[in-house]
Each structure stands twice: as structure tokens, then as C-alpha cells.
């Protein structure tokens, strides 16, 4: 892999050129505030890295088996699925202290937030349920039975539908957030892991880890429009096991993490063609954009590091060691 230190001053130079008078102040603010959070499944910790230098600035102890992590809508907290502690922990981002907890139902693995931040929708992997958590009252207000090993959770941009994938049942379940009822089940290829809405809310993409495909589902008709396969040069087909999916804000490009293929696929989100494979660390599962979407950070579960990808260049820039079995990653502005 080509590794070079990210040119930290490139954004500064660009900003100066545009708005010379306030550039330094703006840059200083974002530079100080932007932080990367990585959940280390086998260490029971969150590694906190500076978003510019990629230095580790803190390691926070969490509950047992931290997996999915999520930024609160107000940007003040990080929610942590402490799977084996059967709860969601709330990390205060100002103090970097765990200041509270939310009920999650048993074995929370992945979750998503309503756009207004009032509810969390949690996949209870060992219990075949999706729990709806009211954040203000810290109560579970609804439980929706789904298939076996619920995992992927994605709330539509308008907040009306949450999609849950179930790994052993191999379905995407569309759940109405008003009634908490399943309105449609879409059978996809084996072991669906992640669901992601396109930014315009017209499609849901789900990744099938064992099936090796990403299904593009029309959100209105619940019909599968396309199954995207991954043919990584030099690897046999079984190695490409898609997990996380991230869209650029303009909806043009999807990045798909391919697990033990150690690569992130770049997919044209309109034509569904795979354009490129970017080599990253080992067993890449989950990813996060920086707020400006100039970088994409990948959590690499076997090599115990994160890789920073330059989104414009579509190239890896740097890998940084974190804890053991890094699972989820979030960047806070």
C-alpha cells in the first residue's frame, strides 16, 4: 500500500485563498474539534484520535464488547452499543466521560437515530427484535419482531421507515416508524449485514456478506433493482464479503467495505458499476466520512488499525494503529 503522510496544510491554503481574513480562525476551530472515534470490540474501549494529526488523544473504557457507535444528532454525544453489557452507553464528547446509558434490549449490535434525534432504533442480535428507544425518557417504547440475528439498521432521510437486515433470515425488513410494524420483507442474498439509504431516500442498499453482493432495493416498490457483485482482481469470488456502505452527499458514489478482501470498492451509484478497489487494512467492516467528506476512515478488524482514504484521489493515505478488533468508526465535527 502506498502510504504517505496527509498534507495537513492543503485545506489551510485553500481556505486562505477563498476567505483570507477569517481563514486561520476557521481552520483552527475545525482542526481542534474534529475527532475520530473507533470502537475496539475486544478491548472494551473507544480510541479517540485527532482528526488532523491522527494521533491518539484518548482511550475511553466502555462496557463490554463495544460495536456500533453513532453520533447524536446534536453532535454532543456518542452512543455506543455495548453488546455484552446489553446497553447503550452515552459518551459525552466534551468531557470524554461516559455520562449515561440507555436501554437497548439484549445484545445491541447496530442502531440508527431518527432525524430529530428523539429515537434510536436498535438491532437486538440475540433476540430477533428491533427495539425503539425514546432517548429523552430512556425507555424502550416499542419492540418489533424480525428475523434471526438482526443487524443492519438504517432510518430513511424523512424518518418514516427504518430498514433492518437479519443475517440468518437473509431479509431486509421495512418497518414503519409510526406503527412499529413490518411493512415489507425483501429476501436478499445470504447474511445481509448493513442497510443504507441513498441520500435522496429513493433506494435502500443492503450488503450480503456471504452472498457477496449488494442489493439495490427500490424503497417504494420494495423490488430489487440490481445486485452488485464484486470481482476483485487477484482474489477468488468468495473473498469479497461486503459489509458497510457509505454514499457521498451528492449520491453519486458509494463506497463498499469488502471485509476479508481488504479493499473498499468504489461504486458508481447511478450505473451500479464498480469503478475501483482501494486497498486498506485487514477485514474492513465499517467506515465513516469526515464531515467535509474529503476523507473516508475505515476500521480494519484484523490488522487492528484504521485507514484514511482520500475521497477525491480514491487512494489510501495512511493507516493508524488503534485497539484490538476495531469495529465501528465515527468522525465528530
Amino acid at each position: 500500500m502506498t502510504v504517505r503522510v496527509l498534507d495537513c496544510f492543503a485545506p489551510l491554503a485553500m481556505t486562505r485563498k477563498l476567505v483570507p481574513a477569517i481563514a486561520v480562525v476557521l481552520f483552527a476551530n475545525t482542526a481542534l474539534a474534529e475527532r475520530i472515534f473507533v470502537s475496539n470490540e475486544k478491548d472494551n474501549t473507544i480510541t479517540v484520535l485527532d482528526g488532523q494529526s491522527y494521533n491518539v488523544v484518548a482511550t475511553v473504557k466502555t462496557g463490554q464488547r463495544p460495536r456500533a457507535i453513532l453520533l447524536s444528532v446534536d453532535g454532543k454525544s456518542l452512543y455506543i452499543c455495548a453488546s455484552d453489557s446489553d446497553e447503550i452507553q452515552v459518551l459525552d464528547l466534551a468531557s470524554l466521560k461516559i455520562t449515561g446509558k440507555l436501554p437497548s434490549g439484549p445484545d445491541p449490535e447496530r442502531f440508527d437515530t431518527s432525524p430529530d434525534g428523539k429515537f434510536l432504533y436498535v438491532a437486538n442480535e440475540n433476540d430477533n427484535k428491533v427495539s425503539t428507544v425514546d432517548v429523552a425518557s430512556a425507555k424502550i417504547v416499542a419492540e418489533t419482531p424480525v428475523g434471526i440475528e438482526p443487524e443492519g439498521m438504517a432510518v430513511s432521510p424523512d424518518g418514516k421507515v427504518v430498514v433492518d437486515t437479519t443475517e440468518t433470515t437473509s431479509m431486509a425488513h421495512f418497518i414503519d416508524t409510526q406503527t412499529h410494524k413490518v411493512v415489507a420483507n425483501v429476501l436478499v442474498d445470504s447474511r445481509p449485514r448493513v442497510a443504507a439509504w441513498t441520500p435522496d431516500g429513493s433506494q435502500v442498499w443492503t450488503s450480503s456478506e456471504v452472498g457477496g453482493t449488494v442489493a439495490v432495493i427500490d424503497a417504494a416498490s420494495h423490488k430489487i433493482l440490481k445486485k452488485i457483485a464484486f470481482d476483485v482482481p487477484g482474489l477468488t469470488s468468495g473473498h469479497a464479503q461486503p459489509v458497510d456502505i457509505k454514499f457521498t452527499k451528492d449520491g453519486k458514489i458509494a463506497f463498499v467495505a469488502l471485509g476479508p478482501a481488504n479493499r473498499v470498492a468504489v461504486v458508481d451509484a447511478k450505473t451500479f458499476e464498480v469503478q475501483k478497489y482501494i486497498l486498506v487494512g485487514q477485514r474492513v467492516w465499517n467506515m465513516a466520512f469526515t464531515p467535509d467528506q474529503k476523507q473516508l476512515i475505515t476500521a480494519n478488524g484484523v490488522s487492528n488499525d484504521i485507514t484514511i482514504i482520500d475521497v477525491a484521489d480514491q487512494k489510501p493515505v495512511k493507516s493508524v494503529p488503534v485497539g484490538r478488533s476495531p469495529w465501528g468508526v465515527v468522525v465528530s465535527p
Binding site: T168, T169, S190, K223, K227, Q241
Partner: protein
């Protein structure tokens, strides 16, 4: 259309339209798919190790856990599954149970029967057109000259197990083994598989040691002296070897070999580092989920036989879901087809070989406490599927269906 493209089902359409809601209220009761499990009741003898007491419901619990998995998926597809369990005392009992279930209309069977009994059942006139999923018999003959069109195997063959071990030796560059062979007929078959595989991977068997020693009440006080002396004695003067491979399928003596050999050599085979479909230390590819689900439901750890039965019942469930059918005949056809695949917590698709009905699957190499490796090993390439580097491949098969 692909096997799942465009497939969707409204489960709670009441939200969208009253017309659909009405449709839901008159939806037919779920069609029930009958699966019959026939297992031989064996008088379990205590194994050598006091630690592992043989479960009386070995295999059967795997089928039960898979049934629950099928039901959960089935509820979204208007499919229901039912498991008929028959534990039989002998071959006559197996034949009787099989005939009774066929008479009741069943076409999908999961068996935990030794090879001769399995063949006796599969060759019955009543067995024409049924699908028998053999969950536990590892005999290579069942995939070769004794293969049957109506039998599929979710248990690995001895050839696959031996290849899993020999591939690992090859990548470790261990090239010489001594082979200790127990007195049971099954041990001879295991040794045959090791010999074939060693030849295939160019590993030399420097000496074969028939194990004839019967330690009697070796667990009485000071019995360990005699065992240690015997193992040291039979492993003397072997010459240069890397690994002591043991063929002792019934756990009669294999656990007594390690640390007692004259030259310090690791033990592998039926004991020590064991090639197997399932093992307690295995937690990769979300196997933790199945391990904990099994433990929670049954109160004990999952065995390889349980896993074989789990795969068999899950194969029925997946064929019904992916093939969108509740017809037992069609389910049997679908699982043999190219659109079928099964997720078995091994990180890859599991499918049936069309030349001998064997399920392709990665195999584990594990000891009691740790997962050592998973075969096929990296670098053993194949033009169609790397999984076909384990066991008997299409060009070599002696199966003529």
C-alpha cells in the same frame, strides 16, 4: 430473474391500503414443510476423557435449533416447518420409521445413521424421489462406489478431514508423519483417508503403528505410569518425523498420546489438533451467534454431529426460502441446483457437489481450547472452488449415480 430478484411480501399491508389488509385476513394458513429426523440410538460408552460426557441427544439438538431458525424466517414467507423425530434402536427400526414417514407423505429426511443402515434405507423402493440428508456419516464410500442419487451429505467425508489436515502440514512444511491406528473398523477407514491424503500432498508416512494396548482400568491410581511407558515404547526408533497422527474415532486412547512420546512431537488426527466441521473454540464469521444460541437452547456445547444436522435442516429452510416453494420435491431439487447456497458461519457459501452430493465446506483445525487454522489453506487453488481442494474432486470421483 435471479433467485431472489423482485421477491417481496407484504406482511402488514394494513398500513398501506385496506384492500391489502383484507387480503391479509384471508391469507392461507402457512404451508407446513415436514422434515423427518431418523437417528440411531447408541449406547454411549464413557470416553477416555472424563471431561466430555457424550450427550444423549447428539445431532438431534442441531436439527431442533435449525428448525427454530427455519421457523423464524418462515413466518415472513408464510412457510412453516415441522420436525418428526424418530430415534431407532436398530436397522429394522430405521426402516420401519422411514416407511411410516414416507407413508405419511414425507419426502425430506435427515439421518444420523451409520453407512450400512443409511444405504438400507436409501435403497428401499419407498425412497425413490425422496431427499435424504446424511448429517453424520463420514464414510468415503458413501461419496464413491456406494453413492446414491437420493442422498446428500452435510457431514464432511473422511477424505475431506484428512485433506484439511494434510494441507495444513504442507503449508507448515511438515513432511513426515507417524500414523497410530486403533483397532476399530472406523479407525482403519480414517487411516485409509490419511494415507490417500498424505500421498496427494506428498507427505511421507514414515511408520504405521497399530495400537493394540488395552490399558484396562488405567484411571485407577498410578495407571498413568503404564500408559506413559507404552506410548514411549511404541514411539521409539521411528526416526525422523514431524507429527504423530492418530486414528481413533471412538476416543479409546488418542488423548493418551500427547506429551508421552519418546521424541517430543505434536499429536493430530482424531485427537490433539483435530480436523473437524465444528469445534467449541470456533468463534469466527459470527459463529459466536450459533454457539451461544445453541448453548442457550440446549444447555450444552454444539458438536460436529449437531452442526451436520443443523446444516441439513437449514438446507431445507434455505431451499424453501430461496426457491420460494413449500413443495418437498421442489425443495429437494432446488438444493441440488446452482441457485442454492447455505450460510454456515464459515465465511463463505456452502453448496452441494453435483457429482457426489457432498456439501462443500471449510473445515476447522482445532484443539480443545483454540482454533488453530481453517482449511482450505491459502495457496491451494482450484479452477472452480477452493473448497473442492478438500475431498474427492469431480475428475477423481468413483460415484456413478
Amino acid at each position: 430473474m435471479g433467485k431472489t430478484c423482485g421477491f417481496w411480501l407484504s406482511v402488514a399491508p394494513v398500513l398501506f391500503s385496506t384492500a391489502l389488509a383484507a387480503a391479509q385476513t384471508v391469507a392461507p394458513a402457512p404451508a407446513t414443510i415436514e422434515i423427518s429426523y431418523i437417528g440411531l440410538k447408541v449406547d454411549r460408552v464413557l470416553p477416555l476423557s472424563y471431561l466430555d460426557q457424550p450427550p444423549a441427544d447428539d445431532g438431534l439438538q442441531g436439527a431442533r435449533v435449525a428448525l427454530a431458525d427455519n421457523q423464524t424466517t418462515g413466518q415472513f414467507l408464510n412457510q412453516s416447518f415441522h420436525l418428526n423425530e424418530a430415534m431407532v434402536p436398530d436397522a429394522a427400526g430405521a426402516v420401519e420409521a422411514f416407511k411410516a414417514r414416507v407413508a405419511a407423505g414425507d419426502k425430506l429426511f435427515v439421518t444420523d445413521l451409520p453407512a450400512p443402515m443409511l444405504l438400507q434405507v436409501a435403497d428401499l423402493p419407498e425412497a425413490k424421489g425422496v431427499t435424504i440428508l446424511d448429517a453424520t456419516a463420514e464414510d468415503d464410500a458413501l461419496r464413491a462406489e456406494s453413492c446414491r442419487r437420493n442422498v446428500l451429505h452435510t457431514s464432511p467425508s473422511r477424505a475431506m478431514l484428512a485433506d484439511a489436515l494434510m494441507q495444513y502440514m504442507a503449508i507448515k512444511r511438515w513432511s513426515r508423519i507417524a500414523l497410530v491406528i486403533g483397532g476399530d473398523p472406523a479407525d482403519k477407514l480414517y487411516a485409509d483417508a490419511i494415507r490417500n491424503s498424505a500421498h496427494k500432498f506428498r507427505i511421507k508416512i514414515v511408520q504405521e503403528i497399530p495400537w493394540t494396548y488395552d490399558p484396562g482400568s488405567r484411571q485407577t491410581d498410578t495407571g498413568h505410569y503404564a500408559v506413559e511407558a507404552e506410548v514411549a515404547h511404541v514411539t521409539q526408533g521411528i526416526g525422523d518425523y514431524d507429527l504423530l497422527v492418530v486414528a481413533d474415532e471412538a476416543d479409546n486412547f488418542g488423548d493418551d498420546l500427547g506429551y508421552r512420546t519418546t521424541d517430543p512431537r505434536p499429536v493430530a488426527g482424531t485427537q490433539g489438533m483435530v480436523p473437524t466441521a465444528w469445534a467449541r473454540p470456533f468463534d469466527q464469521w459470527a459463529a459466536t451467534q450459533l454457539q451461544s444460541r445453541f448453548l442457550k437452547t440446549t444447555g450444552r456445547w454444539m458438536t460436529s454431529n449437531d452442526y451436520g444436522a443443523w446444516l441439513a435442516v437449514r438446507a431445507v429452510g434455505e431451499a424453501a426460502a430461496q426457491g420460494q416453494t413449500t413443495d418437498a420435491g421442489q425443495i429437494g431439487q432446488f438444493m441440488r441446483g446452482k441457485d442454492f447456497d447455505l450460510a454456515g458461519f464459515k465465511g463463505t457459501k456452502l453448496t452441494f457437489r453435483d457429482w457426489d452430493g457432498q456439501l462443500r465446506e471449510p473445515l476447522l483445525l482445532a484443539d480443545a481450547r483454540s482454533l488453530i487454522s481453517v482449511s482450505p489453506q491459502p495457496g491451494f487453488l482450484h479452477q472452480f472452488s477452493e473448497l473442492d481442494t478438500l475431498g474427492v474432486d469431480r475428475p477423481e470421483t468413483k460415484c456413478r449415480m
